[in-house]
Amino acid sequence: MSKRTIKLLPYAGFEIDGIEGWLDDMALKGYFFTGSVSSFCMFDKETPKKRRYRIDIEYHDKFMPYSAKRELFSEMGWNYAGNMFNNYIVYYTDDESVTEFNTDEFHRKEQIKKIFSRKLSGLIIILVLDLLWIGFPINVSSLNISFLDTSILICFGAVNLLYLSYLAVLFVRLFRIRKRNSLNRTYHDHKRAKALKCYELLSISLMALLVAIMIPLTLNDLSSGDYYSIEDFNKTIPLPLIEELDSNINEYYDTLAENKTANINTHDLVLERDNFSTEQITDLTQYGTYIYPGKPNNNEEAYMYNAVLYEFKSENKAEKEFKRSIPDDSDASVSHIEDTKFDNAVYYVKAEGEGLILLKDNYLIVATFTDEVLLKDKTDIFYEYMTK
């Protein structure tokens, strides 16, 4: 019984004559092709012998059914060996007197041209994507993302350079196949092809690793800024007493009422709602900030949360501003916010803490005042907690 072995195809898919030559040489070593999955070829190990392998590229030309085509080839001495990639059909013959599979350079070139066009467009797309990817840290840096320290940038540059050089080699190899005689299988050096394959695998693996590292880092940074991570919640931090905050909060509101506006950083803390459990909400309330995820049913309920409405104004993304709006008859109110930037209605409640919480879509945004004078101690405590 023959032993099955898997070997990595050292050639790129468009180097058909190289693949054919490699399969011929494998047969001389006793490895006989039976099929492949992507670039991994399966072989049966048997007694070495001379066998010719040739690849037919099947297109959906509807001229002849695949079965009839294989029948014709078989009658002419070429037997089906297996498939490679999607449309490469490998045929073989052990009979040296059988006419070569492709005997006309002109017609073979027509097939090669089709492959060339496909691969060239594929390579250009990959190149464009890679260039966009290279531009990625530049764009992210403009957002003042902090994670891109020097070492990551160096790694990023090195891996992309490696990958670009690999793409350049592929381009050169692709253009070479157009020039040379495609019926000649003597151009190829399998060892060199193997080295290039290792080079390809290394650059692709490193690029995949880089993507796997950078994307989560970026998403994490974009969503939470510099200040926050779930792990930052530390229940052992001494808490300001709610009563103390209550005694000072009115004074604080009065000051705001005079100034009418207060600057707020809205991205000090952003949590994804899915990651925000009830337990964590409780944690926040311990710091004097209550979350009310909807419109209170009545003023009493709103008052219970000591609610104050802020109208969100988002004309200027860099300086988000909250304008305080307190109805004349009560300092406890909740209103419905309608803003073009916020398609979904957002209700929020500001309670004792020096922050403000928005529930919007999948995000819970906690904003903090940064320029408060009154309640400075409490503000600092809260801010310290937020920026920990």
Binding site: R54, D56, D61, F63, M64, A68, K69, E71, L72, F73, E75, M76, G77, W78, Y91, T99, E100, F101, N102, T103, D104, F106, H107, R108, E110, Q111
Partner: protein, 101 residues
């Protein structure tokens, strides 16, 4: 400027049309006849034969007329005969030019 496939026939195409002009044949018979007729100078491998038959069929120069067992029999069409005759004339003109030289 790239060469169009049917500006002039390639040698294997010419022989395929020649074979089918003689009689209706299946792929294997065409290949064997050409090899015999050209004293093995022109040989068609299955890859090349299939590509040529497909091209000629697409160009409506040949057509499949019947299937006998597993063999598909092809015949030349009037358009195929025109192509073949044009190629013959072209080749004759070439030879005349050579003889006059």
């Amino acid at each position: 400027m790239p060469k169009k496939a049917f500006d002039s026939l390639s040698e294997p195409m010419f022989y395929v049309l020649m074979a089918l002009k003689r009689s209706n044949m299946c792929g294997t018979d065409i290949s064997d006849w050409i090899k015999c007729r050209s004293s093995s100078r022109v040989q068609l491998g299955p890859g090349t034969l299939y590509t040529i038959l497909s091209h000629l069929n697409q160009e409506k120069a040949i057509e499949e007329i019947m299937t006998v067992g597993r063999k598909r029999i092809y015949s030349i069409t009037p358009h195929g005969i025109d192509l073949f005759d044009n190629e013959c004339n072209r080749l004759r003109a070439c030879l005349n030019d050579l003889e006059e030289e």
